[in-house]
Structure formats: structure tokens, C-alpha cells
Symmetry: C2
Subunit: 468 residues, 2 copies
Amino acid sequence: MTDPVIARLLQDRAGFVARLAELVACRSVSTDPAYAEGMAAARAWWCRRLAAMGFRDVGEIAAGGHPAVTARWHGAGPDAPTLLVYGHYDVQPPDPVEAWASPPFDLTARNGRLHARGVSDDKGPSLLALEAVGAYLAVEGQLPVNVTVLLEGEEEIGSRTLATMLQGNRDRFAADAALSADGARWRADLPTMTIGTRGNMATEITLRTAAKDLHSGRYGGVAPNALHAMARLLATLHDAEGNILVAGFGEGAALVTEADRAALAAIPYDVAAHDASIGIAPSGRSNAEFLERLWLRPTLDVNGLWGGYTGAGGKTVIPAEAHAKLSMRLVPGQVPAKVAAALAVHLRAHCPKGATLDIAPTRDGTVATLLEGDHPLLVAAEGALEATTGRTPLRVRMGATLPLTDIVQRVLGIGTVMFSFATADEDFHAPNENWRETAIEEGFAAWVALLRGLEGKSRADFAAFRRE
Amino acid sequence: MTDPVIARLLQDRAGFVARLAELVACRSVSTDPAYAEGMAAARAWWCRRLAAMGFRDVGEIAAGGHPAVTARWHGAGPDAPTLLVYGHYDVQPPDPVEAWASPPFDLTARNGRLHARGVSDDKGPSLLALEAVGAYLAVEGQLPVNVTVLLEGEEEIGSRTLATMLQGNRDRFAADAALSADGARWRADLPTMTIGTRGNMATEITLRTAAKDLHSGRYGGVAPNALHAMARLLATLHDAEGNILVAGFGEGAALVTEADRAALAAIPYDVAAHDASIGIAPSGRSNAEFLERLWLRPTLDVNGLWGGYTGAGGKTVIPAEAHAKLSMRLVPGQVPAKVAAALAVHLRAHCPKGATLDIAPTRDGTVATLLEGDHPLLVAAEGALEATTGRTPLRVRMGATLPLTDIVQRVLGIGTVMFSFATADEDFHAPNENWRETAIEEGFAAWVALLRGLEGKSRADFAAFRRE
């Protein structure tokens, strides 16, 4: 017999997609102030929807940055656990817009996938989660746990004010565990639970070689070129295989053991297919090497590089300035401030002759996280996945960063389970971001199964996992 | 007693500056199609002015690119020499506009200099030249030589169609020598004649490492980064001292001899002051080494470099594409096509693992030039400078390129004398381009003296210097 909550959700499937189209039409790009109107529109949309679902205390809350949307249903009583259900309404910039096959803010169905900026990261998955909770509440008249909703507006810019906002509202957000609708399933063909994330850190550097741009005919041969200097400097960061050459970069990082490598080798993965799917040259790496690089080793990437004349035609200029944006992914044990310091030492030591280096102050960064294997919410989530897919989920990690996991642990003393129905091949942060349509049915079933699995749980079950 | 032509010019000095302001207000940027209207406005302005001066056959002439403005006064008779007086009405892009202290297309006087894009390169110097010729014609009723005016619209984009245009109109442009109002005096404190130019060559390269931009959390560590590849590739082009490492790059180049070095050492030059004037780290180079690098050695500069996210804030992207614009300055003996081939071989050989390289087709390029020491127009020009400055001009070269010199030699079989009253420190091609106000009086005097010095010359005097 079909679960009546799932029946209700499936009956309204078209309504769900229509609401998702409204939500992605809100251009909520958090990194660029030009999109402020879209950010406000997304918040207003969510407030209306949460109120309609029966949530109380619906509103916005901020600590100097983009406000979060929050709401509560605390009708399960003081002995029931409280879950902080998390998602984010902000998205990455759509650039380069010309690379999109359909307009980035118009939800477009194509080849079994819905396309739009933010559809997979994280508007689809977060709407899916809360629609399931709302349907449960509508059908059953109550939820098995107390729920506090937190929809962040700064996930794509490193959750700048989330810690401050939670710190200033600890009572409002007090919970026994966090349940994230963000974070992405590793892949579509295998049920997995993600138990760890990499941290991150970002900075920007500028090199200057002259007081002004110079004409290459008048100064060519006698003036240094900032772009040459930048190329020389960036070329010192990695070897030809892409390994990081910054001394002290990995200080404190958990060593990768032979047991780790054996566990990775046991996870089936077609590396050649992966390489082909993103159009990169075949790496020839084994499963274990691939997963080790993706999950257990840090990275250092140049995300943007620019200087000189970049318009149409040519310009015979010797550029006086060059700029680069850099970001890093960190593994458990790495301390962001120490990583930033090691990078700064390297950059200063390798700054080419004739150039002066300016390193922008780094933000705090985010540490990597790893969840306990017997955490009751993790076990319940694994049970829900097993019940709806018929397969035991594999425990995996993710190469990406969820600042939430680190912040709620530090501020609220709780662990986070990621229960997302996005999948990692859906071009987050790139043109043509998309979301499998099948995730809708799978996600409805799993979220309802998880709520069913939490029936009868009490706060006491979570006591051992608090991290004061 | 003041020369009546000079008296007339000085009396109308304010009118000259007002006309120059009108001319620089025409936004004649040739490299970017967005400026087509400004290009047309500059041509229309020149046609009106040349007709008002008494030139005949005033009009535009084109060969598939931006039209040139041309005009003639051939009343000196068939035995008098014909001079092709050259300038250009196109200018460099004003970018970065925010670095200008006054709007780039508003002529602004400040600290004894006029500021605007193109004021020095080449609108001021070309207007100066033709106003002097026009005043001579008005006062004397005739000129000592036949004059054909050629104001090019593609000097800043490598004179793409100039050769074709001259080739198709050889009778119209037949002359005994070319006299250029472009080319820049080397410096303000010393009368000099520029007898040689460097050639040039430009290309653009693209590296691709994946089919699309990738999220650094999902792919960081397992996907190559196009910006890393570009940095590695560009870092192979020069050593730490800026010397070019491309094998075969200098093939055919005239060797720098000890005699060359001795001649350079005899030219006074304050290298430390030069370095300080453009805000570069002190090079510690001698006169001779400095001038050798600037005049007698080729260069290879990256003029623009870009890829990934370059907007506000950060974006955790692994860019799939990186782009660079490159240009070269060539010395006598280097063949542009061979230089381009050597560069392509180097780039392909050093293309990093995992990246594919695309090299845009190079245009033909321009060879370096060197004028005969006893050319009658050179000797007359030196005489005019000596008469007006009281000092014997030094023969120097320039590090920049004047495609004209190469093209009129190849197509019309004549040499070019550069007689410009721009000076090399006037920030051509950079923000805050400017032109010394004193160049106006100096230029008027010298151009009139040169015309006086050509009185009595015949075509026969130039016969030995034709280069069929």
C-alpha cells in the first residue's frame, strides 16, 4: 500500500515542478551585489511557501550579510529530538552566460533533466525536502520530530555570516542534529551516505611591475611584464602532475593509510568513464588513486586569472598588473589559517624579480569534517535509503565543502547528516546546471521514509553525540 | 625676422588647439567595431579640414578595411619631388577607462600637457604637420614640393589593408619619399632623427583542459586546470631575466656588433631615471645594454591573459579554457612568418600534459626597417632640426613599429623619414596619454624649416634612393 504522504506528493508532482520554476527564476546570486533584487525575491518566495505548509515563526534573520530564511514546527514536544533542516537559496553566478543552451534562470526540461542555475545546488533538493516535510505534516497532522528550518543565503560565498548569526541566536536554532538537503549524492547508480567533506580557503593575489601599462614598442625589452611574472609565479605552485609544491601546505593533514587506500579500492568506480564524461585527457588513475585525490588530499586551484588587454583585436601593451583568484580544498587536520600562511610564504619566496606582490586578506575558511559512524541520524538515514532503494548505502566522502557542517558543530555542538537528492555530475557552478527528474520521486520516497524512521526517537538517543 | 608662415601659425595657435579638441573627440578606436561611428566622424572631420586648407582630390579610399583619408596638392610641377605625407587618425582603446584622470576623449590641459586618447599618437602630430603645410600654401600661394596626404585608419591594428590599398592605387600614391608625422621623437631634451624601426607580429592562443568548467569541490584533484596549464606554458617563454627562450626566434636577425654597442654607448641616457619614471624596479643596466634591448633585440610580450571567474567575489571553479594574446617586436633580418613558426613549434612542444593548444592564425606581420644615411629627405629633415634647435640631431632608432615604412618600401619603392613631434614618454596606448604643449611651437618651426629646405629640390635628387 502506498504511503499516503508519498501519494499526496506524487499527485502534486506538476505543482512541485511549477513551484521550482518560480524559485529558480529568482536570480539569487550572492557573490555579486548586482543581484540583490533576486536574493530578496527568493527569500520572499520561501517565506510564502513555508507559511503555506504550516510552519510557524516564518521570517528572515541576518547578521550583517544576506539574511537566512527560517521557520519552525515544534509540535512534537520537549522529549522529541529537534532537527535543524538546512538548505540554501543562493546560487553561483551564471557566467559564462553564452555557454548555456537555455536561459540560466528559466527552468527548462531536456533529456530527462531540469536545467537552470541553482536547480541542483540547492533549490531543487531543498524544495524537495521541505515539500516532503510539509506533506507529512498535512497528511499526519504532526511530525515525529521538532523541525527548525534554515535556508541560508551565503552558502556560495563561504557562509560568511552564518556562524555569527547562529551564535547570536543559539536558543532559536538549538537542535539535536542537523539534516542537510545540500551536499549532493556522489552518484546516481549507487545509494551512498556522505560522511565527510573537504574544507576550503580562498584568496586573491595581485602582481605589479610598473606604475602604469606601457607600450610594447616604447618599452619592450626594458620593462618587466606583470603577466610574465604571474605566469612564472603560478607555475611554481604545482608540478607537472598537478601535485602541490607549497611547503607546509599539508601540515596537520590526516595521513592517508594503507587501510584508507584499501577501503577506497573497494568502492567501484569507472575512472575512464569519469574522465570521458567531462572531456579531460584520460588520467589512467586507479579507483583508489582517483578517490584519494578527490576525498583525502587537499587541492589548490587558480579559479580566475586576468590582466592586460582582453577585448576584441589586439593591443601592444606591457601590462603593469596581473590578478589571480585562488582557492583551496582542505582535508581533516588542516588548519585554514596555517594553510594560508604557508601559501603566503611560498608566494613571497617565489615572487619574480621586478614584481611586487599583494595578497588579499583571506577569510576564515572552513575546516574539513567527518561524522561518527554510529550517529543515530546517520543510521536512520541509511535505513531510509536501504528501504527505498533495496541496497545498503556505501559510506563515502565528498571533495566539496559544506561550511554548515563545520559551523553547526562549532556553534551548536551537533553533527550533520547530508541527505541530498542532487548528484555530483549535474554541473553545479558551471553552465547548464541540471537536475535529474528521477530525483523527485526518489527524494520524496526517501524523505518520507526517513521521517517514518524517526518516529519514536527521543532526545536521549542523541545525547552521546553532542559536541559541547 | 619671423617667417611669415610661422607667424600665421602662431597667431592661430588657439584655433589649432580647438581643432585638435574636435579631432580627439572623435572616438576613432580601430580595433573594436563598437567604435565605428567615431572612426567615421574622424574621417569626416579630416576631409572638411583638408578641403579648407586648399588640398584637392580630398576623399576616403579603402581596400576592405577602415578607409584612409587622402588629399593632394600637386601644383609644384612634374620635376619637383612628390612627398607622401603620412599620419593616422585611428587610436588605441581607452581601456582601462577608470585609470584616466580626465575623460579620454575630452582634450584636457594639465601641467603643460594636453591629455586625450590619441593626442600624441597620432592626432596632435599629424594635425601639426598638415596645418604647417596648409599655412605655407596659404601664405606662399604654393608648396616647394608636390604633396599627397595619407591619413590611415588602421595603424593601431597593424595596417591590415594599407598594402592592398596602396597596391591598388599605385599611380595615385606614387611619390619620391614618404614623410611621416607618426613615429615619436625619442626624447624631448635632444634633437634626434629616427632611422630604424622594429617590426612586429601578433597572435592569440587558447588552452583547453576539459569540455566545460568544473566545480573545484566535485573535481578538485582529479581534473586539470586550464589556468595552471597556461601559467606553465607562458613561463617557458622567457628566463628570469626576460630573455626569450624560444628556439629559432632570432633566426636571421642582424647580429649586434661591438661597433653597434660602441655607438649605443655614445648616446647619453639616464637608465635609472627611465626606470624610475615608469615605476619599475631599477634594472641596473648600462646605456648600451638598455638601448640594445630596446632597439636592436626582439621582444615577446604577453599583452592579455584571461580565464575562469574574474568578477566580484569568488567562484570555486576549475576553468576549462585559458586565453593569451601575444605580440612580438622584430629586428632587421627577422622574417615574421619564420618567427611565428618558431613560436608555434615552441608552444606545441611545451603544451602541458592534459591540455590542447589552439594558435590563432597570425597576420602577415611587419618587418623592421633601416633608412640610408644619405637619403635627401633625411638630410633635409636633419637640417631643419639643426636650424630650429641649434643642435645637430642624433641618429637613433625606435623600438616600436611603423608598418608604413615597410609597406611604402615594398609597394611604392620609397624610403620614409619620420618627422614627428610626439615624444616617447607620452603614454601612448596607456591611460592618460598626453602631448607636450611645447611640441606645437617646435613642430610648427621645424615643419616650416623643412619645407623651406626642400625649395629647389628636384625629382632627380631622389632617383638613387628608389627601391624598385
